[in-house]
């Protein structure tokens, strides 16, 4: 009997490993090896083609990134944070209001779908459509501004407005998924709570601030944290709308600079160092926020 039992277990274990083979293979090939390879590359100077031309330069790439006056720190990393903060603030407050309103309207599903459309559209289409909306001569936004008697704004061509313009698109893009999570959270709040408070004569604002918001806190934290981390990583929108983060470096973000350093300028060593610096920053932010997450009463996976 004992023998049969252990045979069974061995069979189970073998099946377990067999079922996980694709996953192990995948993570070896597309996770561990690449991670070590790019960590190594970050200490080298390399154009990306001939492995025999790799030159070990120690910490030079990192020193270069952190030297005084380095464009990577200012404005690129700064832009990365401004972009993440901006898109999160914009999409969060709009989503908070929208989710609160649509849960009390008819055809909730329809409204939610409207707000979610940009999320399921390729970023290439989003970026190009907004390029046209922002167009100084025949874009709709400037047409409206002119009708209102205001001056033409050269949104993406003007360094002082370019980043804000992209943040607006990023925020617009992020509303849908935040609405989804917040409205799911809202619906989980038992109706009795509100009814009881209303019987006690509480006003709408008191209801919202004393009952809804505190009970929604886990969803709120989840939305804030995931979209902030997403914002720090994102660079496709900037790539589609500005190509190289221009004008100047005004819209350049970390991921985009890394991408261009590697695939346009052939500085694979520098690019790898940038990738790791960004990764460490994002990792630190994630850990910090996970700590807040736990204290906020949300169990994370």
């Amino acid at each position: 009997m004992a023998n049969k039992r252990s045979k069974l277990n061995r069979g189970q274990a073998l099946t377990g490993y067999l079922f996980l083979m694709p996953v192990f293979g995948f993570y070896a090939l597309f996770f561990l090896i690449p991670l070590l390879f790019s960590l190594y590359l970050s200490f080298t100077e390399w154009g990306g083609f001939d492995l025999s031309l790799i030159k070990w330069v120690g910490l030079d790439n990192y020193r270069e990134l952190f030297r005084e006056g380095s464009p990577f720190l200012n404005p690129i990393i700064k832009n990365t944070f401004v972009f993440a903060f901006g898109t999160v603030l914009l999409s969060f407050f709009i989503a908070l209001a929208v989710s609160y309103m649509i849960t009390r309207l008819k055809y909730e599903g329809f409204w939610r779908t409207l707000y979610f459309l940009p999320t399921v559209t390729t970023i290439v289409a989003i970026g190009n459509v907004w390029l046209y909306l922002y167009n100084p001569t025949n874009g709709v936004i400037n047409e409206v501004l002119r009708k209102l008697g205001l001056q033409t704004v050269r949104f993406l061509d003007d360094p002082s407005t370019a980043l804000a313009s992209i943040i607006v698109v990023g925020g617009w893009l992020g509303i849908g998924s935040s609405v989804l999570i917040l409205s799911a959270g809202l619906k989980a709040i038992p109706e009795d709570y509100n009814e009881a408070a209303m019987l006690e004569g509480a006003g709408l604002w008191a209801l919202y601030s004393k009952i809804t918001l505190p009970l929604l806190k886990p969803s709120i934290l989840f939305v804030l944290i995931t979209s902030f981390i997403g914002g720090l990583q994102s660079f496709t929108l900037s790539l589609v709308m500005t190509k190289n983060g221009g004008p100047g470096n005004s819209t350049n973000v970390g991921g985009l600079e890394m991408y261009n350093q590697a695939f346009n300028y052939g500085n694979w060593g520098t690019a790898s160092a940038m990738a790791f610096v960004l990764f460490v920053i994002i990792f630190a932010v994630t850990l910090l926020q996970l700590a807040v997450f736990r204290r906020g009463g949300v169990e994370s996976y």
Binding site: Q12, T15, L20, F26, F30, Y115, F116, N128, Y132
Partner: protein
């Protein structure tokens, strides 16, 4: 006691906001019917002066939309099928099979989610192009022309396993009662049979959610496909093809064309979403938060 009066304020805000969400799409649609002269007028007009369908025909020829569609569909379908298979296999093994290192494996898979995708662009690009013994490469990955990037597999392989997918399937399979599996084992069913004939049919709701998620994500994915396109232009997917047309030709002449192509490429995926959003939304709201 729920406030029953007609919420005018909420309706006004939601409708106006909804308009702002949809307007860019309507503008894309409207301008896809404009001719170049119409499009390049000095002032904005929402509606075209005359509705031209030419852009759609030209887009199909100039953009090689046939090829782009084929690539996008093959990439999205193959990625989805692979992710469903690898996620459910792993999800089952991680919950219902006992073996050494199970918990560690699961922790590792979760930990990989902390690593942002851009970290892997550079090394994975090199690995793909210098894949040993593929596309004319020798054992050391040298000498070939494009390596794996000669094949569509290059668009698919780096997405064949998804940590999110494994997590989703694991959470779902956890809820399946062990008694079913024990009973099947006592009846002498092999582990493979148990998985394919007993477990897999029970996980259909989770598989549906994951499938929609992966398909939409894969259809819209841009950066990796763009990198593979730089090695082999035959691998262009819809987003890549549209972006390339835009950057190579005179933008002022081709923008209506690009708009037509964007309409063609976004409409299928929007329809997929609108009809199957139930599953998509379930995936997004149920996994992130544990109540």
């Amino acid at each position: 006691m729920k406030p029953r009066r007609f919420p005018w304020f909420s309706y006004t805000v939601i409708v106006l906001g909804g308009f702002l969400m949809v307007f860019p799409f309507l503008d894309m649609l409207a301008s896809s019917f404009k001719g170049p002269a119409d499009y390049n007028r000095m002032h904005y007009a929402f509606l075209p002066e005359q509705f031209l369908l030419d852009n759609y025909g030209t887009a199909f020829e100039k953009l090689k939309l046939g090829l782009l569609f084929r690539n996008s569909i093959i990439k999205s379908v193959a990625t989805t099928v692979l992710v469903l298979l690898t996620s459910s296999l792993a999800g089952y093994a991680l919950t219902k099979l006992r073996f050494r290192g199970r918990q560690l494996t699961f922790r590792f898979i979760l930990a990989t989610m902390m690593f942002p995708g851009f970290l892997f662009l550079i090394p994975n690009f090199y690995i793909m192009v210098h894949f040993p013994l593929v596309g004319g490469n020798d054992l050391f990955g040298e000498g070939g022309d494009g390596g794996m990037a000669q094949y569509r597999l290059a668009l698919i392989l780096p997405f064949a396993v998804s940590a999110f997918g494994i997590f989703l399937m694991r959470q779902f399979i956890l809820t399946i009662n062990d008694a079913y599996i024990e009973a099947a084992r006592i009846d002498g069913a092999s582990e493979l049979r148990i998985f394919f004939q007993l477990i897999l049919p029970m996980t259909v709701p989770a598989l549906a959610t994951l499938a929609i998620f992966e398909f939409i994500g894969s259809w819209n994915e841009f950066i990796w496909s763009l990198l593979m396109y730089t090695v082999n232009t035959e691998l262009a997917t819809l987003p890549v093809g549209i972006q390339q047309l835009k950057s190579h030709l005179d933008a002022s002449m081709t923008q209506p064309l690009v708009n037509a192509a964007m309409v063609i490429s976004t409409v299928p995926i929007l329809l997929v979403f609108i009809f199957l959003q139930k599953y998509y939304i379930r995936g997004l709201t149920n996994t992130g938060l544990k109540e």
